[in-house]
Amino acid sequence: MGCRVKGRALSGGSATGTALVLDEPLSLWGGLDPATGRIIDARHPQRGSTVTGRILVMAGVRGSSSSSSVLAESARAGTAPAAILLGEPDLILAVGAAVAEELYGVRVPLVLLSRGDVLAIPDDAAVTIAEDGVVSVG
């Protein structure tokens, strides 16, 4: 029982992986350790989870303007998520992904979906993202 939704690609690329659905918004700066790919925000309910290779699903965004650097650094270190699905547009992550591609040739696809589509993705679901922003779940 799968579904396909068309999103807007804020940063291009294709990816396949299992969903890590964040229960609360996460600021990558102060929230993600790029050396290990682990969530380190002491207040975040998913502290200790690893984002590396996962399809990170974020209904909302929060916090620091340094998150672009943290995303680029995690791409350099090989700890970045396979892709990020967003429920609202985020310039800071989109530019972090653009810099990761320019500097290291690493693509972290970033796709904007409707908030409803994001909330419908179950944790651990198998997700495939195509170059044109089509997201297949399950």
Binding site: L10, P25, W29, G30, G31, P34, A35, I40, D41, A42, R43, G60, V61, R62, G63, S64, S65, S66, S67, S68, S69, V70, A72, E73, A75, R76, A77, E88, P89, D90, L91, I92, A94, V95, G96, A98, V99, A100, E102, L103, Y104
Partner: protein, 417 residues
């Protein structure tokens, strides 16, 4: 510029600005008169690889550009407790941004410097607290720019015509009304404002809100505390304080004559809960809890705040074993030195830190005891960043606690029996 006529560095910067315009759905770029850049804080080798690409490509900023904090205090290197190698990487990154033509201001509060944007100016600012102050208190216009985009806009001299650069996006869509049970004594105390900011960030998320029911003519230091906290607990890039901020002489003006989508009452119980959440010490750090550190000046302290700390100390020193540290901008330290204020504070045992922040750089003395702060932002980030437990209090409570060596609090005005 995109084609490389101004050099490879400028072309790279322009590609990022164009990407930003696409994400924001902007149809054109507009010129800016200044920028504030946060990319000079070291977050790993990617940050150096990025600026090297710009420097090696011959890029220079096109507008006056200030720099946010870096990873270490260049003027007081003796305060550094980290490895020599990590200090060297931070210093290298800070130097590279100077090479692009940025001013070495190294402050998270560029709005406290003498040259700052005016009402209606279009700028590109990064650093969440600076963004919210710029939009809300100065009435200058910036989107929520982050690392890489900030310097890219400074080099291009242009930004996407989108978001908070446009008048309609600056309209309050949400009203936070201060409830009648909030005592006048609390409205008149500095302690309220970072706590109110935490509530604002949680309720507003990324929406523009108007705060209604506060005293009129709030000081810039109080508005700074609201914004810094709101940009930590939420993604607030602009708020209005009716009667204090320039685009909100009245509630109707903040709403641009429209209707709010939502009105939320903020009462004493909610404020007290937000204040208590900022304290991470188990049991809520009751009066008498021993302290190791008191950290003030996040965002960087203004001269007025440094003078208030001196007044509150009233000639007393911190208790033995307690580190009392105040972070500020190097330009303001220079003024404080000319005035004798810096020497008087140091003589009382106050450590003055510039160019960085005490929850970023390894500067605090290792202590098994908790740290106290008057900053909602410091309380929010320090436990994750530097692994300390935090007690939140007003500046007055912080200074008195530093002198006593243990937590001193004035709970009465928060309605605690």
């Amino acid at each position: 510029m995109l084609a490389g006529a101004s050099g490879e560095g400028a072309a790279f910067a322009m590609r990022l600005v164009v990407r930003a315009a696409e994400v924001l759905g902007a149809e054109r770029l507009i010129p800016i008169t200044g920028a504030h850049v946060d990319s000079c804080l070291y977050h790993g080798e990617a940050t150096i690889d990025f600026v090297d690409r710009l420097v090696d490509g011959g890029a220079q900023v096109a507008v006056p550009t200030t720099l946010n904090i870096g990873g270490l205090d260049l003027l007081h290197p003796e305060l550094w407790r980290g490895t020599a190698e990590s200090a060297e990487r931070s210093r290298l990154l800070m130097d590279r941004y100077r090479a692009l033509g940025c001013r070495p201001t190294f402050t998270c509060a560029p709005y406290q410097l003498s040259a700052r944007p005016a009402l209606g100016d279009q700028v590109a600012w990064a650093e969440s607290n600076a963004i919210v102050f710029c939009n809300s208190v100065l009435g200058a216009r910036t989107e929520r720019y982050g690392d890489f985009t900030d310097i890219a806009c400074a080099i291009a001299g242009r930004v996407p015509d989108a978001g908070l650069h446009r008048t309609d996006a600056r309209r309050a869509v949400l009203v936070l009304r201060i409830a009648a049970d909030v005592p006048a004594a609390l409205l008149d105390d500095d302690a309220l404002y970072p706590v109110l900011g935490i509530v604002l960030g949680k309720v507003a998320g990324s929406r523009v809100a108007a705060l209604d029911g506060l005293p009129r003519g709030l000081s810039e230091d109080r508005l700074k505390a609201v914004g810094a906290a709101a940009a930590s607990s939420g993604a607030v890039a602009m708020f209005h304080a009716v009667g204090s901020t320039p685009e909100a002489p009245t509630l109707e003006a903040a709403l641009q004559e429209g209707e709010p989508l939502e009105t939320v009452d903020v009462g004493l119980a909610e404020l007290r809960a937000a204040r208590d959440e900022l304290t991470t010490v188990g049991g809520g750090a009751p009066a008498g809890t021993p302290l190791g550190i008191v950290s003030l000046g996040t965002p960087h302290a203004s001269l007025a705040e440094m003078r208030a700390i001196e007044r509150e100390l009233a000639g007393q020193h911190p208790a033995p074993g307690v580190e009392l540290l105040v972070s500020t901008a190097r330009d303001l330290l220079l003024e404080a030195e000319e005035d004798g204020l810096a020497a008087r504070l140091r003589a009382l045992g106050v450590e003055l830190l510039v160019d960085t922040c005490s929850y970023i750089a390894p500067v605090l003395r290792p202590s098994p005891l908790p740290a106290m702060t008057d900053s909602g932002k410091w309380a929010f980030y320090a436990p994750g960043n530097i692994g300390v437990d935090v007690v939140f209090g007003s500046m007055r409570e912080c200074v008195r606690s530093a002198v006593a060596g243990r937590v001193v609090r004035d709970d009465a005005m928060w309605g605690v029996a």
